[in-house]
């Protein structure tokens, strides 16, 4: 395994484009090192991107959104004074991953590019409408987060392309997001099911809604119909029932050691109700 620590994204991209065999980018390393240790993936080329300037920065964008450098960690997100006020669901989803120790290293972009169906931060980023910026041999482009994973362990990034930053849109007034996952313990598990919802309201009435589910299909599922079910209504029992049905209907999970099809489908509905209520309360002004 060769290790490189480039100083610019261009250099990193060129290294990756020219590399033979398996290439991995190293940010937090909480997936790369586990795969290395478990003999699942031993990269031939490992490109550490943390020395590139700006990769640790969390900055406001001009339009009032947020830009997170590619090496920003979960701990840095949780500790940021303002990010969690705008996007509590995204920050909490990231914070659920692993231990305090893992939080010190793990990054949401790594979580996304590792392309696990159960990645906690991904449904939250999708619900928030986050966009991933990449650069590659053909220049820079922005990809909506939901279009990044292509299947378990696979992304739509091309050879030589490297993620540079994540952009969260402006929160805007009267909006709220939330993420919950189900795990057997209270900590340290991989999500059996995850659910994120991002809402805006006017008064009691929902004006926009985005929902995404994790660990119920090969990639995170965007439940587009959630908007139809919620927009123009308050979050009453009927809306919650509709949302539950929608969540259950959107699942295409597998039976595995972490959960059955039946349990995952059922629990997706339960989480959808609970997450919707939190997001709704937040949108109406409840503090995260």
């Amino acid at each position: 395994m060769q290790y490189f620590k480039p100083a610019t994204f261009e250099e990193a991209s060129a290294l990756a484009a020219g590399a033979e065999g398996i290439t991995r980018f190293l940010a937090g390393g909480t997936d790369v090192l586990v795969q290395l240790r478990s003999d699942l993936v031993t990269p031939d080329v490992l490109i550490d991107i943390k020395a590139i300037p700006g990769t640790h920065d969390i900055t406001r964008t001009e339009d009032g959104g947020w830009r997170l450098g590619v090496a920003v960690t979960g701990a840095e997100m949780s500790e940021h004074p303002d990010l969690g006020r705008d996007w509590p669901g995204v920050v909490e989803a990231m914070d659920l991953i692993g231990s305090t120790q893992v939080q010190g290293r793990a990054t949401p972009i790594g979580n996304l590019c590792n392309a696990s169906p159960a990645a906690d931060s991904v449904p939250a980023m999708i619900a928030a409408g986050a966009v991933l910026s990449v650069v590659g041999p053909d220049g820079a482009r922005d990809i909506p987060v939901e279009e990044v994973p292509a299947g378990p362990g696979k992304t739509t990034l091309k050879k030589g392309e490297i993620a540079t930053a994540l952009t969260l849109p402006p929160r805007g007034a009267q909006g709220g997001d939330a993420y919950l996952r189900f795990i057997p313990r209270t900590e340290m598990d991989i999500a059996v099911v995850g659910c994120a919802i991002n809402l805006t309201v006017e008064g009691e009435v929902i004006t926009s809604a985005r929902m995404a589910l994790g660990a119920v299909a090969p990639t995170a599922v965007v439940v587009h119909a959630a908007a139809d079910a919620l927009v123009g209504r308050t979050l009453d029992d009927a809306a919650l029932k509709a949302l539950t049905d929608l969540a259950e209907a959107s699942c295409n999970p597998i039976d595995d050691k972490r959960g059955t099809v039946k349990f995952r489908t059922h629990t997706a509905g339960v989480l959808a109700r609970r997450v919707a209520q939190i997001a709704y309360d937040r949108a109406k002004g409840a503090k995260a």
């Binding site: 478990s38 057997p184 059955t260 349990f263």
Partner: protein, 748 residues
Amino acid sequence: MALDSSKTTDFKYVGTRPDRPDGLDKVTGRAKFGADATAPGMLFAAIKRSPHAHAKILKIDASKALAMDGVKAVVTRADFAEGLTGETWNVLENVMAGETALYDGHAVAAVAATSALIARDAMKAIEVEYELLPHVTDVDKAMAADAPVIRAGAADASVPEGLHPNVVRYYESGHGDVEAGFAEADLVIEDHFTTEATHQGYIEPHACLGTLGADGKGELWCCTQGHWNVQKLCAAMLGIETSQLRVTASEIGGGFGGKTTIFIEPVALALSRKANRPVKLVMTRAEVFRASGPTSSTSMDVKIGMKSDGTITAAQGTFRLQGGAFPGGPCEMTAMCAFAPYNLTNVHQVGYDVMTNRPKQAAYRAPGSPMAAFAVESVIDELCNQLGLDPFEVRLKNASREGTRASFGPKWPRIGLVETLEAARAHPHYTAPLKEGQGRGISCGFWFNHGGETSVSLAMSEDGSAQIMVGTPDIGGSRASMALMAAEVLGIPYENIRCTIADTSSLGYNEISHGSRVTYASGLATIKAAEAAVEELCRRAAAKWDIPEEAVYWEDGYAKPSGPNAGDHAPLHITELTADMGATGGPINGHFEATPEGAGVSFATHIVDAEVDPETGATKVVRYTVVQDAGKAIHPTYVEGQFQGGAAQGIGWALNEEYIYGEDGRLQNAGFLDYRIPVASDLPFIDTVIVEVPNPGHPFGVRGVGETSICPPLAAIANAVSNAVGVRMRQLPMRPSRVLEALESKDG
């Protein structure tokens, strides 16, 4: 002069809570565990393991590995002794496969190289050709007529004819007439229960550093619960004399029974002999799960009859344990412990030890007992519920007491079950109100405890301090307990005593630290060794005073004259006797060797409150109380620690821990990510009550406490969850999906 310090009250040091002697080393990172040792010229080893559940080994080709730079030796089964029999053969066959790989993770070859990375790469370069054989990993399926035979002829004489060859041991006991008993009952409940295999989950993987020369002399450093056992087994497997192998026990990072046997030590020694260099071998966590010794999974049927006044009229249990690809699943322990808490006129229990294509089971804290308690105490709870009886009243009414006949045959000596039940019933926990969605469960639990071969040596220093050498690795603070007991006898402060775990060349034979035997047996030996030293101290005083030895007695660190011939002498302090001991007869030591046979059994009663999320089936333990008979708590804080640790392991077993095998016979969760032991945020504080019903077989009344604490939790939690959801939970672990299904079955 026979000195006897036996007492069960009025202690000066015993029962206090001083700091542990290994505390400073352990909080500063200095304590040396299995993987912390190095040696000049040391090589690193890695083990090649079978990816198949059951396969004939056709060919092992290590040529590519041996051709790599830095690779110094490869060993296979051919490098170990032949002609072994019995359990030693079983252990060797498990340490390194012979003709057949018997489970996913079974070792087939090993390599030593100049770095850990090279060793790992070389291990991957070893090529093994297999012929796949049919496999079975489930206990009930392994007993079925069409199950593949793991190893023909493995069954012993106890197995009745007509059973599948995978049933390798059989146990049956009981008394009375259970059918007549069931006929007398007002309610009979019979249920089927299952538990999954769990792992001891010690945080320290097995690790060792071995050196063995062509002269047949060796040194071995390893984390173990019993280094004399390691010495004996390794010597046999390498064909050397036992005494030529010196084994030193490192600090041990948890064992819980799992380090009572060996997995890697002979491999390191064989590699060392071949490479003529020291070899370090450390298991990865995945190897620990795949190839060390988890506990048995079980399939159990329990039937109990009860009168409407709560009297148990008959009890019957059938317990099937799978112990992996070797005999040894502790079915007789399960059967014997099952009904031990109850005084039964009619009782019958049967145990089956069944082989499967899984790793060879190893002891896990009260091996076999927790599962039995789960089945039996669940049925009793259900009987209480259906008959509208108080669970404590019923248990007290039927409780085993001194003089009643145990379910496995003999009459009970002095035991403390009733005392734990009464203390638990009186605990505020039992009457605290429950919230919506919560349920409360109680359970009793029982474990035998054990004595075993024990040697202890005590040596006085000139300054009046003392060193004790014991041979039972300290797995729960026993060095502190030994020092307290010696302090009590010698009458010198705890701080003036240093207790060391001696290596196999420095002390006589000691059985493993298992069976909750250390505080009992090594403690007894320590007391006797200290008494021997005190006798010698008294003799020296008598000589100084020129009075008969019989006229000297020992009190609080002083030799004192007594009786008509004693004369008038000022008491001599221990330091006055040790200061010139070289000139008054030589070094003053005490030692004791025996196989003490008075280990007292220990009973416990636990109370637990569990809260179930009705929408997801997730269970949280919200309150937990352990009440257990310790006989005499030498260091109460460490006794509490044993109670709490056992309860926590039981909580994991009940709720989330399990070995998950795929259809392909491979273990699917060989890591702490998916083998889910409780984390700090999963648990509440665990309240403890120490009951002290002295064991007449120990000078200070000690009963072993380490194991009993894991016996009640499975049942107590199952009862709590069942009472919370209103459906009897019969399968462990009570993972959320199972609880949810139970809830749905109730609604539907």
